[in-house]
């Protein structure tokens, strides 16, 4: 375990969980910003994917490279070296970003599965940020549209804080907030939207019910740029949604 600066010992901490397939600088940057805005410790958790290592040991395993679509044999050693390399990059990125905002941080590598992160004792945090694989290599236009943020679950102060943090980020002056409140009876019958001024942002509000949300996510997981989801979500639903999303997810108490 590596740490930077002193641990403020705060109860509220930000946990960034990433594996080799989902790690990105954008997600690290988001986690650091979250920790800075809440003045809490940032804990990085790099997960060496247990499933990957398990499959790698099989005689039928090989890798199809994303850049060339060619096949190459996989070995345990090779995968472990790759994972260590990505873990080191993850830690270096975390260190660089955290130091820039003077955020206390620590970093650790564990073996497991991202979906099990909630059950890990080390993963207790007020804000857990999951890095999700973005949609492969599709380019992003230089002129981004309004940032699309999914807010799922009952509002809590932490949820609100996470949303505030996102809206304060540069380039997020325009935002599209999609609310999907699990406790809301029946949700709304159809997509409704309205424009409001939220803080200094020009915000378009959309409300979806669960079905509508699942329908949208099944069409395109990268429909959102961020997702803020309550930890109190049903675990099965949560994993299902996490599996469909192609954006950083902030899991809040």
């Amino acid at each position: 375990m590596t740490t930077g600066q002193s641990n403020n010992g705060g109860k509220h901490k930000v946990l960034l969980a990433a594996d080799a397939g989902s790690y990105s600088v954008t997600t690290v940057s988001l986690a650091v910003a979250m920790a800075a805005s809440t003045n809490t410790l940032l804990q990085g958790l790099f997960i060496e994917d247990e499933d990957l290592l398990q499959v790698t040991g099989l005689p039928c395993s090989r890798e199809i490279t994303l850049t060339t679509a060619t096949e190459r044999p996989l070995s345990i050693d090779q995968v472990q070296r790759s994972l260590q390399l990505v873990a080191r990059q993850f830690e270096q990125t975390l260190q660089r970003e955290a130091q820039a905002l003077k955020v206390a941080w620590s970093c650790e590598t564990v073996r497991g599965r991202v979906r099990d992160i909630g059950s890990m004792p080390k993963a207790e945090a007020t804000y857990t940020i999951f890095a999700r694989p973005v949609s492969n290599r599709l380019p992003f236009g230089r002129i981004a549209g309004a940032r699309k943020i999914l807010v799922l679950g009952n509002e809590s102060p932490y949820q609100q804080q996470a949303l505030d943090m996102l809206l304060r980020r540069p380039g997020h002056e325009r935002a599209e907030l999609t609310f999907c409140d699990g406790n809301r009876e029946g949700g709304v019958s159809s997509e409704e939207s309205q424009r409001i001024r939220y803080r200094d942002n020009e915000v378009r509000l959309i409300e979806l019910n669960r079905d509508q949300l699942f329908a949208r996510l099944s069409e395109v997981g990268s429909a959102f740029d961020y997702a803020i989801i309550s930890r109190r979500e049903n675990a099965e639903d949560l994993w299902l949604i996490l599996g469909m999303l192609r954006c950083p997810v902030i899991l809040v108490d």
Binding site: L58, R62, I64, A69, T70, L138, V220, S222
Partner: protein, 845 residues
Amino acid sequence: MIAGGDTVSAIGILESVAVGGPGISPILLIQVRFPVGLMRETEPMSKKIPSLKHTALYTTCDLKWLDFTTTQETEPLEQPLGQERALEAIEFAVDIEQQGFNLFVVGDPGLGKQELVQQILSQRALDTDSRWDWCYVNNFSNPQKPRVLRLPPGMGQKLRLDMESLVEDLLTSLPSSFQSDEYRNRRQEIEQELRERQEKAFRNLDREAEEKGIIVIRTPGGYTMGPMADGKPLDQQQFAKLSAEERQHIEELIAELQQDLQAIIRDIPLVEREHHQRVKALNQEITRLTVEQLIAWMENSYRNQPQIMEYLSEVKENAIKNVDAFLPAEGTREADNIASRVAEFHAYSINVIVDNSDSEGPAIVFEDNPSYQSLIGRVEYVSQMGTLITDFTLIKPGALHRANGGFLVLDAHKLLTHGFAWEGLKRALKSRELKIQSLEQMLSLVNTVSLEPEAIPIDVKLILTGEPRLYQLLRTYDHEFDQLFKVSADFARSTRRDAGSVQQYARMVSALQRDRGARPLDKASVGRVIEEASRTAGDGERLSLRLDDMRDLLSEADYWAGKGDREVIELADIELAIAKRQHRQDQYRELLQEQVLRGIRLIDTEGARVAQVNALSVLEAAGYRFGQASRITATARLGRSGIVDIEREAKLGGEIHSKGVMILSSYLAGRYASDQPLPLAASLAFEQSYGMVDGDSASAAELCALLSAIGEVPLRQSLAVTGSINQLGEIQAVGGVNEKIEGFFELCDARGLSGDQGVIIPAANRAHLMLHKDVREAVKEGEFDVYPVERVEEVMQLLSGLPPGAVNSRGNYPRKSFNYRIQKRIEKLQKLQRQVSKSAGNKKS
């Protein structure tokens, strides 16, 4: 007395006489015998040769001609004095519009050539039709070859400002267009559609794999697959427990899925390409709308200018094509630094190389530094990351650009001393177009890529000013010169001095005085200025037209008047200015005179010497001319080599000097040995002369030295001689007579005037005398003489104190004449020659 170039010496009677003695073979001698009557009329007779009175040494300005108290009362002269011919030529050249009628203004420095040209050009009608603004703009299809725009006066700057505004507007409007909801929505639609397509493909693969009991897992570099059970991948033990058929089946399933996965991944670049093309098409659509709207008002404003319309059309297409350049970089605010960003858009700049916004009348350009580049223009470079780069904004105009449609005035000497400037100028004039090309390119010295700006058609009237010598050289050696300069304006150095010209000169002095802001001059000082103009002209009957000299004199006199707290420049101020100027420049003359006085340079001013004459020459040091005496000596002995010019032999004699010596040789033979060979070996030298000697003004003195050497006649050293001779013995006018007389006078004066001293000058130079007051006073007091002479016999008479004598019927001169002595010596030499020849003949037999 022979006068006026009479041909008497060629008219004679040939008769043969036999000379010889016992035992001597008779020798046939040819002798010219002149008719006695004619000889008596034409030979110089013994008579006293009068010197000039002091009043003849200076032409005073008649103040009655000046009808004013001070120059303030006179009307300044507007037209230049004495330059009517040049004026007419300039006006003709300026007005005629045919090609090749460029003008060469010929004249010595200081005559006011450029001032007159400027005056005439500025008085021309305000014809602005010939003026255009010239701009270089980017050639969007080939930036190496910038295009040129010809626009009405003032439109260049307007277009430049409009283009700057357009860029500002584009920088403001385009980002706004790209931030509009419409654009964002349409772009997100594209991106979402493509993402959906890709995600769907992966998701379908996931679903299919799951149905087949296969799990797809991300690796750091791609994907891998494996069999699964209960949502978890099988480990090695579980896999090992599978039957061979099951393992084979799994292999086959993975292979199938792998092909699908590879197909999806291979499709990614195509999706990216499609994304790029669709976004690009969208961007261009959005840009076109904005750009067309912004350019529309410019097109409306410049609709009568086809060149601009064509240019704007290219700007429009280029802006649409390069819209990204107008969008703010990621993470910056678009409103930031728009003004500074405008400068980045060089491609849309307008390089106004000729701006006639505030100009009236035709262009009149005086280029003081006519180098190739300053005439033709140049392409500059800037250093960027260690590399020299350029573009059309770095094209700099030359004088020809600025003068296009008007007049370019250049100093020919400066032009010719700048390498390749003359050739470049001629090429532009002949081709009537101006192509900016560096010297390196022109001479093929470099092969680097540079700009090739579009040529500009030119219509320039070129006016060169230069000295007559330069004009003649160009006419002689440049075969294109006559085609390009069909008009010459010849500036007069001086003008006749009479009542009318004196009055005009006074008005010119008034104009110069006012132009300089100097004090007015009183009548006497103007008179003195006019006298000084005659002195400068070297002619009492003419007035110098060198305006520079006059300006300087006025400025200096004004200074001294100021020192004396006078409101008006008086005679004393002019005299003081002249004296002070002379004093400032007089050091070298004093040094030379000191050397004479100390006996270092040998010049006698008293006594008599054989074969030695004081000649006079003019030296010029830093523009200051002064006269000095030089000793000429001669030797004469038996021989056949004739007259040896030592200066010429030592290669210190100029061509004109050599010619003078040849003329005197011819005179000598014709005069004293026309019927017998002249067995003479003589030599002539300028003593203590270590530089070049040229001119023939000493030929009379050289002849006298030679005659003295032959006849062994002592010559007075109290006299100095100047004048050239012709073959008939006539004394011809020389230059610098005033300086020469004054030079000898100052030497004599320094040693103490004896009353016997003086200078012999050609009679034809009498009109040129404008001698210094000191000389005139000395002449008036009888302490110094100036003798005008017409023939060499008069010079010899003055120098030897002997008359020339008239030849009698037997061809002999009177005993007490110098000619007698010369004749006898020549006869003696001839006799000796015969003896030598006889002795040599005997030895041979």
